[in-house]
Symmetry: C4
Subunit: 129 residues, 4 copies
């Protein structure tokens, strides 16, 4: 058995083909604000430098959005919060490509609270190297 202290798991490229941030929400903020998240796990002892490219249906891709997932940490990134080079518009279809210099694991989640009981979806993203 390997040991959580040394394990490195994941891929250096991940794609999330689904993307849609509803503009409306019901319930307390920020927990119930409709949002999409890329949950990233870096099990290695090196910081992961991550660049995200956002794809749209009707215009050129935007990016890179740059961020760091520190060594042996998880980062649950709300796409709602991305701002540089530009925010992701609401109520708009998009997709994302996530590239890292060390292997990470990426899982995609949406909380949709437009109607008065929230709905959830999640899937491990598509990993490649």
């Amino acid at each position: 058995m390997r040991n959580g202290e040394n394990a490195i798991v994941g891929h250096t490229r991940w794609a999330i083909a689904e993307g849609y941030i509803p503009s409306e929400s019901t319930g307390k903020k920020p927990e119930f604000t409709s949002h999409e998240t890329a949950c990233m796990l870096n099990t290695s002892h090196r910081d992961a430098h991550v660049r995200i490219t956002i794809f749209y249906s009707d215009r050129d891709p935007v990016g890179p959005y740059l961020l760091t997932v520190p060594a042996r940490r998880t980062l649950h990134l709300r796409f709602n919060k991305l701002s540089n080079p530009e925010p992701i518009p609401r109520d708009t279809d998009y997709a994302s490509l996530i590239e890292s210099d060390v292997p990470i694991v990426v899982q995609h989640t949406r909380l949709d609270s437009r109607q008065p009981a929230n709905a959830l979806l999640s899937t491990v993203a598509f990993g490649a190297d």
Copy 2:
């Protein structure tokens, strides 16, 4: 690290074994119309020519449905909108095979608004080459 400008990720064949479009909906149209979506991401610099075959439980497959995912674009296709060669009947079990001439990534999502708060599901489709 590779670079979003040049990355090609995905498979040329994808299967979605689940398929069911509820005939009933609650809430504003078209956002809350019950629907199923195949979210397709083409990170390459070539247009992806896609053919979809729909499988049923009790009759021969129908297709191909033909469409294009332009280079470096995402297309979130509502199965509800397919019409040629024929629409997909509502309240009916189906499955789909998605084939492309360049690698793409496919994620499957359903919004079910039959009851007064919508439910969501999503999963990366099953990829093969």
Copy 3:
């Protein structure tokens, strides 16, 4: 590009580690009866002979449950309906192993209508050969 007419995709063994059929439901039957489904897609031209084994937390596995997914058909099997050799008890943790003599694709879905708006989950099952 391959062609929907000849494609064979999938694995001959699939596992679904999650399993739980709620005993309660809200809404019209049978659509809104709480249920779990194994959606199976057989894209090949040969019938798939499938055997399902059900695993529990506190007793020996039960099975096989035998069924056929005809050539070029999908079968969305409600676990609720399995009866031979025995029904799956409600409100009980279980898991399943699905084996086929030709490659198929398996996706797992639950509709939970215990509370007055249904919830959904889905994931492609874990495939192996």
Copy 4:
């Protein structure tokens, strides 16, 4: 066709990048208590000795949490119940690494009942060896 009696499927390492246990719940306990579950299936004839490491966004990983999935059994572990070396705090982002000495299959599920109709998500975890 292989046979459920002898099949071994899975991986010895699994990662779940998403993790969040809501502190609030609506409905009967314990069924509707908001929770996260790692559903583990051991199809082999050997007990699986499992060690779980929990990763956070702002502090060092915690673990190992040790448990056994008996031979030919499934264990649906609620993360809510982990206590040794310490409980997982509520309303906190985390991720998990699951290592086993025999191959197992892991699926991740959350039931969120903070609002008056529960929401569900599930995905097969990310498997590696």
